[in-house]
């Protein structure tokens, strides 16, 4: 079994002045080097969960252990160094007046020495392929570029975990692809642990593991294949099913022999071709 970086045990949370719980008795583990997608409709509690991971909110009950530290007022600043967040709105997390200043912001907060800082700003911008934009001002960048700068700002602090809180939901398809590609590279080349909170099922399909949230509760957990078996159930939860699954199922209903739910179109087409030509 892999090492668990995050251990969340039975946490509950309620916003001030609200009657229902945003999170109810949620327990989960996040393992080193995995890409975990947390999905759910708007208001399912998935973003609250993200905020709690980063100590931006504290649960009413339950415990959270991140990288061996018990999350509390005392440890929160250390925990923020090991768990970085990218938020939804590209504009409202860009603090610096230029790209490089923005990447440096987190380093400045943590008192990193300047020589080290210059090196880290450059190397993290290189990792997200934004180094040609070093001196650009934010209003000249596209949404996808701003989000990549936000990612650079996070990885400059060398965290173990990066949390994407609906980081692609305000982007156009091109921007979304850019950001996902960046994340994929970070995960593969730098073995970053990724938690992506999303309602985009195509994005979730690329993860190693999916957690489905519903009404503040952990509804289901499993590999993408397992989760997408849920089918109609997902649609009832306000979500969707990725296209390859939809078509696999539709073909199966038509009596075409298909052994399983395929996650990519290529796999399905190849399978169709093999079963067809071997007839």
């Amino acid at each position: 079994m892999q090492k668990a970086l995050v251990n969340i045990s039975k946490i509950s949370f309620k916003y001030d002045g609200q009657e229902s719980y945003a999170l109810k008795d949620v327990s989960l583990q996040i393992f080193e080097g995995e890409w975990l997608a947390i999905v759910g409709h708007n208001g399912s509690g998935k973003s609250t969960l993200a905020k709690i991971l980063n100590g931006l909110q504290f649960p009413e009950s339950g415990t959270i252990d991140i990288c061996g530290m018990d999350l509390s007022e005392e440890t929160v600043w250390d925990i923020r160094k090991s768990i970085g967040m990218v938020f939804q709105n590209p504009d409202n997390q860009f603090v610096g007046t230029t790209v490089k200043d923005d990447v440096a912001f987190g380093l400045e907060n943590n008192g990193v020495q300047r020589d080290d800082m210059v090196e880290r700003v450059e190397s993290s911008l290189r990792k997200v392929k934004m180094e040609p934009f070093l001196d650009q001002e934010p209003h000249h960048l596209s949404g996808g570029q701003k989000q990549r700068v936000a990612i650079a700002g996070v990885i400059a602090l060398r965290p173990e975990i990066i949390v994407l809180d609906e980081a692609t939901s305000m982007l156009d398809p091109r921007g979304r692809e850019e950001v996902l590609e960046t994340i994929r590279e970070l995960k593969n080349d730098h073995s970053m642990t990724v938690i992506s909170i999303t309602h985009d099922l195509e994005e979730a399909a690329k993860a190693d593991r999916i957690i489905v949230m519903n009404k503040g509760e952990l509804y289901r957990e499993g590999s993408p294949e397992e989760i997408f078996q849920m089918d109609e159930e997902l649609i009832q939860l306000g979500l969707d099913v990725p296209f390859p699954i939809k078509i696999s199922k539709a073909l199966k209903d038509k009596g075409i022999p298909i052994s399983k739910h395929y996650l990519t179109e290529e796999e399905l087409v190849t399978q169709l071709w093999i079963s067809h030509s071997s007839k």
Binding site: N42, S142, G238, I247, L251, E265
Partner: protein, 289 residues
């Protein structure tokens, strides 16, 4: 009401060092009752076109005909309100325009600007709130106490209550979850069908465009790259893919399948049903080269 863009060119900040050509040689006809989708990357000129549809922008060359009005670069236009009442625009993230104390007042704001009486406006508000799938009770609430999805619907109701002849939608589902997205798109489609409401949808989503629109215009670098019915547009997806544009999932799958099987299906499929029908037909017949 018909709208037509004729050889329209638009330059931002004309005559300054920051001058930038946004669209050129754009000719699009939108006859009354059409559902037209305009597709393209960010920066392809989609939003510039959108703003010409109700004279928020005046062409720097060419002309825009909106009903019986003609908008050209030269003359100063009077009484553009009349156009704006007839062409309602739902901008991207329309919830950002809400400002009144109650939902009802906010929905009444548009109609009353166009001279509708208060009683009539309130009647329209009640109708519009139902059209967007919310209950009448919400009318008395403050728009800022609502959830994001509800705010979006209220803002849309504010445009519907203007009772426009043409409705223009700029990414109306951006940021919504899959269910919200589907509900909003179905709602506009229903309005279009029931009332023969001309609809212009500006979007990134090829899925929505192919499912709902009668006609699609594809913009690329400020020019009309292609226009036609969905089936025509997606008949040869190669060109679109080369431009880095998406094609609908159904079309993409058909394209991949045809590549692997080295054959052509009978027609370009648009819906999932058509596709499964065609694929199972192909597999049964087993007629392969």
């Amino acid at each position: 009401m018909d709208i037509s863009l004729q050889q329209v060119e638009y330059r931002y900040q004309i005559g300054t060092p920051f001058e930038r050509l946004a669209i050129t040689e754009v000719s699009i006809d939108i006859p009354s009752g059409t559902y037209l989708a305009i597709i393209g990357h960010t920066g392809s000129g989609k939003s510039t076109i959108l703003q010409h549809l109700n004279a928020l922008l005046k062409p720097t060359k060419g002309k825009v005909v909106i009903g019986n009005r003609e908008i050209t670069s030269g003359e100063k236009q009077k009484n553009l309100k009349e156009i704006r009442q007839k062409v309602g625009i739902v901008f991207q993230f329309p919830e950002h325009q809400l400002f009144e104390e109650t939902v009802e007042k906010d929905i009444c704001f548009g109609p009353m600007n166009f001279g509708v009486s208060e009683t009539e406006a309130r009647a329209r508000a009640r109708k519009a709130i139902k059209q967007v799938g919310l209950s009448e009770e919400i009318l008395a609430k403050s728009p800022f106490d609502l959830s994001g999805g509800q705010m979006r619907r209220v803002a849309i109701a504010g445009v519907l209550a203007m009772e426009p002849d043409v409705i223009v939608l700029d990414e109306p589902t951006a940021g919504l979850d899959p269910r919200g997205r589907k509900e909003i798109m179905e709602m506009f489609y229903k309005l279009h069908k029931e009332r023969n409401l001309s609809t212009v949808l500006v979007t990134h989503s090829m899925e929505d465009a192919s499912l709902y629109a009668d006609e699609i215009v594809i913009m690329h670098k400020g020019e009309v790259y292609k226009r036609g019915e969905p089936r025509e547009i997606f008949q040869s997806p190669e060109g679109l893919l080369e431009l880095g544009l998406d094609v609908p999932e159904v079309v993409r799958f058909q394209h991949k399948l045809e590549g692997t099987f080295n054959t052509k299906l009978d027609k370009t499929c648009i819906t999932l049903e058509e596709l499964t029908e065609a694929v199972s037909g192909l597999l049964r017949r087993g007629e392969l080269v």
